[in-house]
Symmetry: D2
Subunit: 294 residues, 4 copies
Amino acid sequence: MKIAFIGLGHMGSPMARNLLKAGHTLHVYDVIQSSIDHAVSAGATAEKSVRAAVSEAELVITMLPSSPHVRSVYLGEEGVLANVAREVPLVDSSTIDPHTARDVAALAAKQGNPMADAPVSGGTGGAEAATLTFMVGATRDLFNQIQPVLAQMGKNIVHCGDSGNGQVAKICNNMLLAISMIGVAEAMSLGVALGIDAKVLAGILNTSSGRCWSSDTYNPYPGVMEGVPASRGYTGGFGADLMLKDLGLASDAARQSRQPIALGASAQQLYQMLSSQGFGGQDFSAIIKLFQKS
Amino acid sequence: MKIAFIGLGHMGSPMARNLLKAGHTLHVYDVIQSSIDHAVSAGATAEKSVRAAVSEAELVITMLPSSPHVRSVYLGEEGVLANVAREVPLVDSSTIDPHTARDVAALAAKQGNPMADAPVSGGTGGAEAATLTFMVGATRDLFNQIQPVLAQMGKNIVHCGDSGNGQVAKICNNMLLAISMIGVAEAMSLGVALGIDAKVLAGILNTSSGRCWSSDTYNPYPGVMEGVPASRGYTGGFGADLMLKDLGLASDAARQSRQPIALGASAQQLYQMLSSQGFGGQDFSAIIKLFQKS
Amino acid sequence: MKIAFIGLGHMGSPMARNLLKAGHTLHVYDVIQSSIDHAVSAGATAEKSVRAAVSEAELVITMLPSSPHVRSVYLGEEGVLANVAREVPLVDSSTIDPHTARDVAALAAKQGNPMADAPVSGGTGGAEAATLTFMVGATRDLFNQIQPVLAQMGKNIVHCGDSGNGQVAKICNNMLLAISMIGVAEAMSLGVALGIDAKVLAGILNTSSGRCWSSDTYNPYPGVMEGVPASRGYTGGFGADLMLKDLGLASDAARQSRQPIALGASAQQLYQMLSSQGFGGQDFSAIIKLFQKS
Amino acid sequence: MKIAFIGLGHMGSPMARNLLKAGHTLHVYDVIQSSIDHAVSAGATAEKSVRAAVSEAELVITMLPSSPHVRSVYLGEEGVLANVAREVPLVDSSTIDPHTARDVAALAAKQGNPMADAPVSGGTGGAEAATLTFMVGATRDLFNQIQPVLAQMGKNIVHCGDSGNGQVAKICNNMLLAISMIGVAEAMSLGVALGIDAKVLAGILNTSSGRCWSSDTYNPYPGVMEGVPASRGYTGGFGADLMLKDLGLASDAARQSRQPIALGASAQQLYQMLSSQGFGGQDFSAIIKLFQKS
């Protein structure tokens, strides 16, 4: 299939390579020339504008850093909507606020282009190994249409309901993830301060009602698990500043929908404190630093 | 074995019955006569004082509501330590603060009685079905000695380390449980406010990094799961006021060990608000009421 | 002076009347016809568009509900910038986020119109009595130029620095106000629960280091002061939902400037809870309801 | 008057000296010999036990670090109650929890000794200058009886109601103080991050509804005020760890009276974080460090 792929950052680049491996023709665009060169060396065709990239595309995929970028790439005079052929499906894999996702999708639908929001989880590792989870907000028809292509970049392709619901699922999951990660960090730190062995405590939590992904798969306490960021100085993994961005999206969405989020808002502030103390580039499990003696 | 069992409340009564079923001789004491009568009808021998209950016991088990009760029952002039034979092992299954547990155990050890703290989780249902989890703080020798008897009242008998560590494990687990339950309540409420279907969202959380016991086994959103308190008006289960008590133990222990617990402290206040609004008698998953429009 | 006044809501209407009393000629515009009629009956000239209102103005004053309204009224094709004469000063008294205030002011400056942000505090009572406080973000020259007119609508006209700083001052003040109001609500409720008389406690706070405007001028505990909303069922005053809006501006600005605000974010969530429980229309001191037994 | 003075720490020593200056005869006791020597050099008579100090006293004053010390000094076999003459008034100036204060006072009353709790504020500076504030929980008769002596050590002698209410007033005031100090720290930090000058912002807060003691008398932002800890590296003043202790008393009292304190509990955790990061010995306005880039 002839695919326009716009946005070749840390996540977009390996995703594009997996599409090339699957045999698609890719027309790529990014504002950074070296990212384009990289994709060209993997077999893609470089384009000098969004307009050029989408003009003959049968499918458009975008992977952009924030809501204003999505608005600009899709709605600008030289953007996707003004230059893509009618009926071509559009897939935005950026993580942005649900309201923007729905606004842009509604404008696309109005001119005859079905559009899906399909944010991912799984990190750069998942992007390279094609094991990403896609959380898709789209009509059932559009979901069925794009599912095979997404499956070439990921393992779990989940239909979350109509437009915007992919974003909703992602920010709700990540808010809960942040809260439970901080909860594990507090519980492990408190337990050790009170005299229990860290591995013994983790073992108990993992078989009790405190069990969660942050305790049994990604424990933040150093030395409890192997192969997780906590065992290698909080390098790699999912950056604290990316979690902070997602918590910002959650609190913004909560504000707009007039929904209280007590612990979610506190989690956002704790991640902001961690970032202000200079640890924003570390894995998000480094939040445990706030609960340990310095 | 000749066992003294002191404290026959909601949890203690079914635990005592399971020991009787297992063939032990029970000498029971409680301040409420009807509780004693109930145990007698199941085969126990009633005693009129702690002193009388423990004087010929080969093992003492207590199940009391709070730290002051434990101090009084063990350390009072008419209490356990003053009247039990040397070398008889003592097991306190109350949920209390680790400092008190360690203080009393140290006094017991000093006079030759090995003592374990062994708080439980699993609720009255688990007590009746003999499927409780015991979190045991004791020496390895004492643990091996009492393990067979505890196994007649429960399914998972976990050695958490030395004296007090059973309490540490319990309050850390329950603090994490409260935090993740509130996290699920916030994430589910926010998601639905933003337009996603509750069951779809729960399905995504349960297979993603937000996964936790509160989402996949005890979801607080009405209608998402069957057989949980949320599906029957938040009746049954683990009471919000009991969770509030455990969060009080956690914050107290954190204060004494000078350990910050940001979300744990907020969770305590949210449960206090729920209780002040009149819902302390409902299941602890009713915390979701704070995040829904009234 | 020939003044264009755009936005005749609860605050704008009495402000416009005070300008008429001071002898100015007013050309007014609002989307609600009855608001215009009301102003006309006080001596203003009705206009059918922003364009018509500003075309001959020597000064433009706007009082609008939110940032998107300000963008639209100033930057739209039929808006202020496209239709006002060069060098005419522009004063926006809306409470909006500082970034928008600075963006719009920069565009205005570019085409030769000096622009000030001048949000107010003092409520509708202050607007009617011409006792408002204006917090002004503007160059020193512009401040000197507009100060006499603002003084006809208010009592304290404060220069907060350059463009946007009026908004900064307002949202910082109101965030601190929300925090200290909640602090007073908690301290008074706790004290009374512990057995002290409410008036005695207020008297001590007001002469000690806990002293603040929320305790000595606007005490939220019923019966402590006369003439405040707490003494009349939390009617009148500054609405809880308006405080919630300002806390949203504060948290949004904090997020954009990557600044942690721990208690500010919690205050926002507590006001959202109050609003979700149906009390958003009451005075903001009604937050004490969250800390009292129901 | 013949006064027994027990507890000669940082606060007790200067208080005792002021009583000597006023012409009283002092019999002093402390566990630290150098503290006793110091008092002796100022004219006091050293005693080797609580018993000896109180045996001929006409008034007993104590200044102790915590509730367990108060229990021990008053209720121990060699303590105040067992050795003081009947009808001699007892004044405890320690800052402790209200429940303990009431328990001890009730036992004292039972044997005929009227007892007051009279915690102070004003710091060591106030203790030396005899400008302390005493918050007194006592019957009206006892208050009238001890007021003249307290006035020799302080400036404001406030009757807060019956037994325990001195402690209630103190912990409520200090909880509110902590909350408003953090509020000022957040508001000042946010404002400066958004571009306003710190002194300009402080000036606006101090004349607006955000006004509070922490902003107008003790501003935590460096350079805004002279003569406050923020202008000298957060040395001197009221230590962060002392504030943390008082917040612990407040949260403990709130828990026992089942009263929610949302921001109070968060303030406690923020001060615990500050302390864990090594700043517990600095003035409590150093909390602003948590809100500034490192």
